[in-house]
């Protein structure tokens, strides 16, 4: 009997709508709750979906737009989970969804997972941020994939900042990313050739 009571309590807890969603109108809240529940059932995190709905509510967006945004994010999180695996953390999935939205392919996410030790959050986020800065998705993907095996999170952030700085000074976004990648000495497509028998040139100090 105790087990049955516990089971019922767990069920009630699992299906209760998040109280934060009361800021939505009843119709929108019902649909968003269903989307969130469905996502949770497939192992996706609820929090990013709830936050997206709350963002829409605070910004005064119509219910249809909120529902569309939450559904799209749930779909992106699902693609990200398929590409990265079921053990991926919520922050990684959220960053991966942003990278997908920026133009990264699911195959790129899988490659990134294969070459970089977790967590992948910063690498994925930097990829999305580079595209948001104007770097073409293909260039951003190539650069991040090349940096990923060895660069620390701080190195990736510094790389992104350097590219953004160059862009703000007038450099074309794609060119800025390529030149900065060259300066870090990465060996994938952007490396300056070393003399035969000589080690590759040492990367310069950070600006």
């Amino acid at each position: 009997m105790i087990v049955a009571a516990l089971f019922i309590a767990v069920q009630v807890t699992a299906t209760a709508p998040d109280p934060r969603l009361e800021r939505l109108d009843p119709e929108t809240r019902a649909i968003v709750t269903a989307v969130v529940d469905s996502a949770c059932n497939t192992g996706l995190p609820a929090e990013p979906l709830i936050q997206r709905a709350l963002e829409g509510a605070t910004k005064g967006a119509p219910g249809t737009r909120i529902v569309a945004a939450v559904r799209r994010l749930a779909a992106d999180l699902g693609v990200a989970q398929t590409a990265l695996g079921s053990r991926t953390t919520a922050p990684e999935l959220e960053a991966a969804a942003a990278a997908l939205r920026a133009g990264a392919t699911p195959q790129l996410l899988t490659k990134l997972r294969d070459v970089r030790r977790p967590p992948l959050t910063m690498a994925l986020s930097v990829l999305a941020d580079l595209v948001a800065s104007g770097v073409p998705p293909d260039s951003a993907s190539t650069v991040v994939l090349a940096l990923a095996p060895n660069a620390r999170d701080a190195d990736l952030v510094e790389f992104r900042r350097a590219v953004e700085r160059d862009i703000s000074l007038g450099a074309p976004p794609g060119g800025a990313a390529a030149v900065r990648a060259l300066n870090t000495g990465i060996r994938s497509g952007y490396t300056a050739d070393a003399a035969p028998g000589q080690p590759p040139p040492r990367p310069p100090s950070r600006p």
Binding site: P45, E55, A61, T89, E94, R101, P119, A132, V157, G185
Partner: protein
């Protein structure tokens, strides 16, 4: 960019390869301890049974801590300062994924001069969307941060990412 890590690895390997020296008198001391315990007049050792309740309590506490549902992040949070220059503003709020997009939760205060609005947030690992709400009506992105690409609600947002493992829903 990565030579420091190589140096650290080399130093660790050198340290691990050093032979471990053992005190030659150790064997004699151990045998003496055993002989002392074997004497009939040796004091009885405290039975381990007395420690069981404490061990059980510690195990229960550890189980509760491990089974505790983790909130977002929680293992390596970072402190961030958010700043907006808005000389004409009467109020500015920081609103985002970290405070349920509730303008009342993170009001910003002028700091360092008139029109310079600032606040500090502690953030767990993750990627957060946020924006500034000026005078309760005007949404502004953070000019010093990457912009969120998908402004699906028609107003600009920015992004801050905190590295680290992160856990939770």
């Amino acid at each position: 960019m990565f030579e420091q890590e190589d140096d650290i690895v080399e130093r660790v390997v050198r340290q691990l390869r050093r032979p471990v020296s053992i005190d030659p008198a150790l064997d004699a001391r151990v045998m003496q301890e055993i002989a002392d315990d074997a004497r009939p007049d040796a004091p009885a050792r405290r039975p381990l049974v007395r420690a069981w309740p404490w061990l059980a309590a510690a195990a229960v506490l550890a189980a509760v801590l491990i089974a505790r549902p983790w909130t977002r992040g929680g293992d390596s949070s970072d402190v961030f300062q958010f700043v907006l220059v808005a000389p004409q503003a009467a109020s500015v709020s920081l609103v985002g994924d970290f405070n349920d997009w509730d303008p009342a939760r993170s009001p910003m205060r002028t700091a360092g001069g008139p029109g310079i609005w600032a606040t500090v947030m502690q953030l767990a690992p993750g990627r957060y969307r946020y924006a500034f709400l000026v005078n309760g009506v005007e949404w502004r992105a953070d000019p010093g941060a990457p912009s969120a690409m998908d402004d699906e609600f028609g107003t600009p947002s920015s992004v801050v990412t905190v590295g680290g493992r992160g856990r939770g829903s």
